[in-house]
């Protein structure tokens, strides 16, 4: 792929991976938080 090559050109390969993981964890934490909140309330 050209994508990661260009990310490399910009020095951004690590940033691409890091930001994807952070966003994934944010999504997961919303999932857990809402269930946890509901457990606490019911």
């Amino acid at each position: 792929m050209g994508t990661l090559k260009q990310a490399d050109d910009f020095g951004r390969r690590a940033r691409v991976r890091r930001s994807a993981w952070i966003l994934g964890l944010v999504a997961l934490s919303f999932y857990v938080a809402f269930i946890w909140m509901s457990v606490a309330r019911s």
């Binding site: 994508t3 260009q6 910009f10 919303f30 999932y31 269930i35």
Partner: protein, 540 residues
Amino acid sequence: MAHDTTHDHANHAHGDHDHHGPAYGWRRWVYATNHKDIGTMYLVFACIMFFVGGFMAMIIRAELFKPGLQLVDPMFFNQMTTMHALIMIFGAVMPAWTGLANWMIPMQVGAPDMALPRLNNFSFWILPFAFTLLLGTLFVPGGAPAGGWTLYPPLSLQGGDGFPMAIFAIHLMGASSILGSINVVVTIMNMRAPGVGLLNMPLFCWSWLITAYLLIATMPVLAGAVTMLLTDHFFGTSFFSASGGGDPVMFQHIFWFFGHPEVYILILPAFGIISEIIPTFSRKPLFGYDAMVYATAAIAFLSFIVWAHHMFTVGMPLAGQLFFTLSTMLISIPTGVKVFNWTATMWKGSLTFEPPMLFALAFLFLFTIGGFSGLMLAVVPADFQYHDTYFVVAHFHYVLVPGAVFGIMGGVYYWLPKWTGKMYDMKLGTWHFWLSAIFVNVLFFPQHFLGLAGMPRRIPDYSTQFTDWNMVSSIGGFGFGLSQLLFPYIIWKCVKAGQKASDRSWEGAHGLEWELPSPPPYHSWTEAPSREVIARGVQH
């Protein structure tokens, strides 16, 4: 062109995959990692789902053509309303936006592809499985979900074998959306070519960036809600069961905490596309670019604090009613900024009315009607009267059909010459527009009258005084449904026999995508665009 985009395998060493072309046959699609191929698959999938969901709408309108039960039994009617909504929202509109994002974002920010191409493949290929599962519920004992797309318990928990299938399908759709959104955010934040700044990238990218954040924040909330429905049904929990100490209203709060931002997820990318089309066909730069960005962000923020306006009739303290009324009305301010800015862009412009511009103008008028009826619904005492009537159906269909769907169609007509390298039949496109614009109003405008007169939604039969406007609405529905068949025909005819399109297919078009050839190379910008190209391509 200012850059070399030729693909010459001979010049590359073995193992250099930077400039390879598409694979042949089914491998090209199943193993696809190319943003254009995946974008095309998303758009084709959305088009198929649009016609599946549309067919269900035809069944609904045929049953409602006159009072009494004619064609389907009430249970199947309820399955049709529920499935129509789920398919149109998650199967047609959202995948269409992701398809457009896949095609356009790398080209508009000067990147060769999306940042995470394999994740992109995974995001798409989840969808056919999800919708096979969802449509499969029609064929199991108990049938498809029939309690409305909002899945309120305890009604939704009374479903048959289709219930867990629908829950799993919704989980899959959510996962697909989250992964697709991660890809969009990572691409826009990290893959912009040097010189493409956040405040000079096209508004389509901005609107999608904000939409992607909304999706990442809200889809997990829906997933949490439906997971709890599943455990209530199968594992003896009582999250939403009053008999076990739970609270069914809590589901409604959680659902609408997802559901209201979801409305903006469906419409914000349309704002981006309209902000591309209107300047092009007005031959003027967009009026108030920065204000448009901030207005989009403000709408996204406000979408998180208005959810309970869907629940006024459930009951809440006066302070809650006031808060949710006022916060809802606040949304009209940034939305008004957008409408006035689009109008100001056209002011004293050199306007022409090709199909993309026609769809954009219809969007401007008809979405605004949907916005105004939304303001009416935000007023608590009025909402007590309108709630669960056809007025609400008219309101959200004005926002979603001449809003989101016209935005998608405008976008396809705008970029189709770029994607295919061929110009479509403008006369047929214009016919498609006028038939759609006339019939959509015949279809949905009378539903305002029906709602104000008290006709409830989600019923297969009604009192005879509602007959006339229901007949008019159904005729509009059949006309709208039939006229949509023109859309795939126009695209097919364009691909097969369209005239060659120039690189800058519309003379007023600006943006990096128009600096690429038509059709663009397999990987869009294998080398980052030069400063000169960027200076020519960006407007601000």
